[in-house]
Symmetry: C2
Subunit: 200 residues, 2 copies
């Protein structure tokens, strides 16, 4: 086996299979695809991966991944900087921006509390959020952490930390997803949808 | 949207989503994973991708991907070089080596005939195989192309090209896969299994 695979090939397979959701089979399929891909995709990917670390910084205000600090979202005077949407990951910023329904600022925590996995408040950008709220006195902080156990705990913890700051703290609405089917909704979602019912 | 994503991030997402089986969602998930991965996986991957092109060659005899030519499999005196197993891709060499049941040489075609996709015999290492058989006069050529339309056509074409060379030409057995269930076998597999039945 060892001598069957050229070392650069075996090496790339091993590294690719460290990615989440990529097993050894997928890793070798991707590697052999890159080997025969004639348009320099491997070289382009190598350059892009190299630029990922050197070409990006964390915005010092919102901790989103950006090319410079403050990031374009924090520097944009057209956005309502008195509204801070707190999310777990940079990907969540992208998801909310895609809706086009939000024109405020963000705060990226870079994770959710999970003591079992060793993720304590100090590992997240929570102290930075508290300091930011104290300094900037926004009118509203929207806790948009995930509707999961960790996300709920993180939201509860931040709520506690910001209590007494006088700022309005909100949480994203829970309820039935659009296009969903009431019959197939889980009990928690359905009871949250009932709790949060609105008059028409 | 454009200004939400740092350019290095957007660039990597775009390149990753060109990989087979990787959509935009997976590409961005992988990118953000690499962004927060602290152990230099992005840098290691960049180096491995760069080495893929510069560190590998095609063996001039069997056209497998290797670090030098002839490759370790062709250079190994312990292997039966009078037996040539013809496969479509380097991955197939790996699959056969994994069985431990084969100790001969290989010939990698780098594809299968598919005129619709513009893959004509000239695009594959078929002329090289014919020349190799004429020069080395092996005792057997095993056609181990895939049991698909393209693989069957490729095997038939090579069979035609080698007719008259006097070499024995065989094809991998078709039949029921181990662990399979007769009830769920498709008609073609089942009729091939019947055709190929052996006395016990």
């Amino acid at each position: 086996m060892a001598q069957t695979l050229a070392r650069p090939v075996a090496n790339l397979i091993e590294l690719l299979s460290r990615l989440p959701g990529v097993g050894p089979k997928t890793a070798s399929r991707l590697t052999f695809y890159l080997l025969r891909e004639p348009n320099g995709l491997a070289e382009a990917l190598a350059a892009a991966l190299g630029a990922l670390g050197t070409g990006t910084v964390l915005c010092e205000r919102c901790f989103n991944v950006a090319e410079q600090s403050p990031c374009p979202l924090c520097a944009d005077p057209a956005r309502d900087q008195t509204l801070i949407c707190v999310v777990e990951e940079p990907m969540d910023v992208l998801a909310i921006e895609r809706t086009g329904a939000y024109r405020g600022a963000y705060h990226v925590l870079h994770g959710a509390l999970s003591p079992i996995d060793g993720v304590y408040p100090e590992k997240l950008k929570i102290a930075e959020l508290v300091a930011r709220v104290q300094a900037a006195a926004p009118r509203e902080v929207i806790l948009a952490t995930n509707p999961s156990l960790e996300g709920e705990n993180t939201a509860a913890y931040i709520h506690q930390q910001l209590a007494g700051s006088g700022v309005q703290i909100t949480r994203l609405a829970r309820g039935l997803p659009m296009g969903g089917d009431l019959e197939y909704a889980d009990e928690v979602t359905l009871s949250r949808a009932l709790e949060g019912r609105r008059s028409m």
